[in-house]
Structures are given as structure tokens and as C-alpha cells.
């Protein structure tokens, strides 16, 4: 790994613990569940783990992306846990609930990394198998895998120093 790659990986790695803390808090308070972490790796590819992704961009002294990647069933369960609405399809309500959950995870992460002076974008939702997430160039994203009573999901993130972007 080159010096630049190590530097960018190091910045991305700084997000791991804040992300885990943010996920624990958001899932506990909003969904009443306590996810179990099942893995943490640097990813080689750009495809997220599961078929639905909520994507939030962050800018400031670091630039990059946080992705909440969920199975279809986990996404349906998020809506049910948040507002007691049951559905069998990924509709606007599901997309809104997953987007807001991701927004809160990103906000809680950002709050723990105040020196980076991050600002967060409004979340976008991407659906379908084999979709690809674009991180800043040269970034190897991390993937934190979770299992929970509402199903499997992962949180992925890749960041670069904004001076290098």
C-alpha cells in the first residue's frame, strides 16, 4: 500500500468507532434493537453488501460517503419498527424511513468527529442488486457488518482528506 493510500485508509479507519457508536444509539432509540457486529473489513470492490443502499455524502476537512446497506427485509422492518407500518414492497415510506435512519447515523458520527467540521447531504436511496457506490478516488472503503433481530445490514464508509481530494 502506498503512503497516500495508508494515509487515506487511516482517515477512513477513524470513522469506524464513531460509526459503530452511532449505529448502536440510532438502532436502539429508533428501532428498539441492539445490533451485533459480525465483521469489519476494508472492501476491495465498490458493490455494497445488500440490495438497498442509503447514501449520504459528507464534506468538510474530510470528504467522503457513508452508506447504510440493507437487505430488502431489513428495510421493510425498519419502517415497521419506526412507525408501525407494514408493507411488502420497497415504497416511498420505506425509502424515507431508511433515509432518515441513515441521516441520524451520519449526524451522530459527525458529532463525534467535530474537528473535521463535516456537513452532511440529504440521503439518496439506491435499489437493486449489483449497484456500485462511488467513493472519492483512491479510497478503499471500510465495511462494518451487523446482524440484528430486524435482519442483516452493513455500514460502509470511505473518506479522504479534503486537501487531497
Amino acid at each position: 500500500m502506498s503512503t497516500a493510500a495508508i494515509a487515506t485508509s487511516s482517515l477512513t479507519a477513524k470513522f469506524a468507532n464513531p460509526l459503530i457508536i452511532a449505529v448502536d444509539k440510532a438502532f436502539d432509540m429508533l428501532l428498539g434493537c441492539r445490533p451485533q457486529r459480525t465483521g469489519l473489513t476494508f472492501k476491495d470492490g465498490r458493490m455494497p453488501e445488500y440490495e438497498l443502499s442509503a447514501v449520504i455524502g459528507l464534506t468538510g476537512k474530510a470528504v467522503g460517503t457513508i452508506v447504510l446497506s440493507l437487505t430488502r427485509q431489513t428495510a421493510l422492518n425498519v419502517l415497521y419498527r419506526m412507525v408501525d407500518v407494514e408493507t411488502q414492497e420497497i415504497n416511498d415510506d420505506v425509502r424515507d424511513a431508511v433515509g432518515e435512519l441513515t441521516n441520524i447515523v451520519a449526524g451522530q458520527t459527525k458529532a463525534q468527529l467535530e474537528p473535521l467540521q463535516l456537513r452532511i447531504s440529504i440521503p439518496s436511496i439506491i435499489e437493486g442488486r449489483d449497484h456500485v457506490i462511488h467513493y472519492p478516488s483512491g479510497i478503499q472503503p471500510i465495511s462494518i457488518l451487523f446482524d440484528s433481530e430486524i435482519g442483516a445490514f452493513s455500514v460502509e464508509a470511505g473518506f479522504k482528506d479534503s486537501q487531497l481530494a
Binding site: K25, A26, M29, L30, L79, M82, V83, D92, D93, D96, A97, G99, E100, N103, I104, A106, G107, Q108, K110, A111, E114, Q117, L118, I120, I122
Partner: protein
């Protein structure tokens, strides 16, 4: 008590509306809007006792709404409900006259505690 509830997420509007209804506020006394522009239209047409607003929204964000309402010489209690807890951004809201703020995620008790400092909330 009449509440203007502003959030671009329908999910969050539902959650906050349920919190307010649990406090005893009538369903019809809560009016909601999905962005600051729509909220400002409602604010100019109807009378409210308190505004609860998200920060990050399309069209007009919470800070823009706060500014527009204070520019109309209104001292209505205005609460920012947000993922933004960064000190510099909170300070900018305080300078514009925000009454208080609440960071998501929050519990119904957190919301009640904040509101009770400014307005009378029925049980």
C-alpha cells in the same frame, strides 16, 4: 396548544406527531410541513404557539425558516430538531434566536422536557 411541525421526512413527522399526541396535544392542533417554504406559508396564514423544525431540508432549511420568522418580529418558541450538534452550527442558530434544540434520536421525554421550558404542555 397549536404546533407547526416541519420535517422533510414523513417518518419523522409521524414519530414527532405521535410524541406530541401522547403529551395530550390534539391531532388537529398539529399542522405539518415538509420544508421551510411551506411552513412559512402556513405560519403567515394561521396562528401557532410553537414551531418544531428539522434543520436540513430542501428548498428552505430550518435556519432559513427561523430567520424568516424572526424577521417577522415573531418571538414564538422555535425548536430546532436536528442531527446537527456541532457547536459552530448550534451557535449560528442561537444567534438567530432559536429557543432550544433537540438532537435526533430523542425520546418522547426529551421532547416534553424541552417544550415544557417554554410552553404549557397538557398531560
Amino acid at each position: 396548544m397549536k404546533v407547526l411541525l416541519v420535517d422533510d421526512s414523513g417518518t419523522m413527522r409521524t414519530i414527532q406527531r405521535r410524541c406530541l399526541e401522547k403529551m395530550g396535544i390534539e391531532h388537529d392542533d398539529i399542522t405539518d410541513a415538509a420544508d421551510g417554504c411551506k411552513a412559512l406559508e402556513l405560519f403567515e396564514r394561521f396562528s401557532f404557539d410553537v414551531v418544531l423544525s428539522d434543520w436540513n431540508m430542501p428548498n428552505m432549511d430550518g435556519l432559513g425558516l427561523l430567520k424568516a420568522i424572526r424577521n417577522r418580529n415573531s418571538d414564538i418558541p422555535f425548536f430546532m430538531i436536528t442531527t446537527e450538534s456541532e457547536r459552530a452550527r448550534v451557535l449560528s442558530a442561537i444567534q438567530l434566536g432559536v429557543s432550544d434544540y433537540l438532537v435526533k434520536p430523542f425520546t418522547p421525554d426529551d421532547l416534553r422536557e424541552k417544550l415544557e421550558k417554554w410552553v404549557s404542555v397538557t398531560a
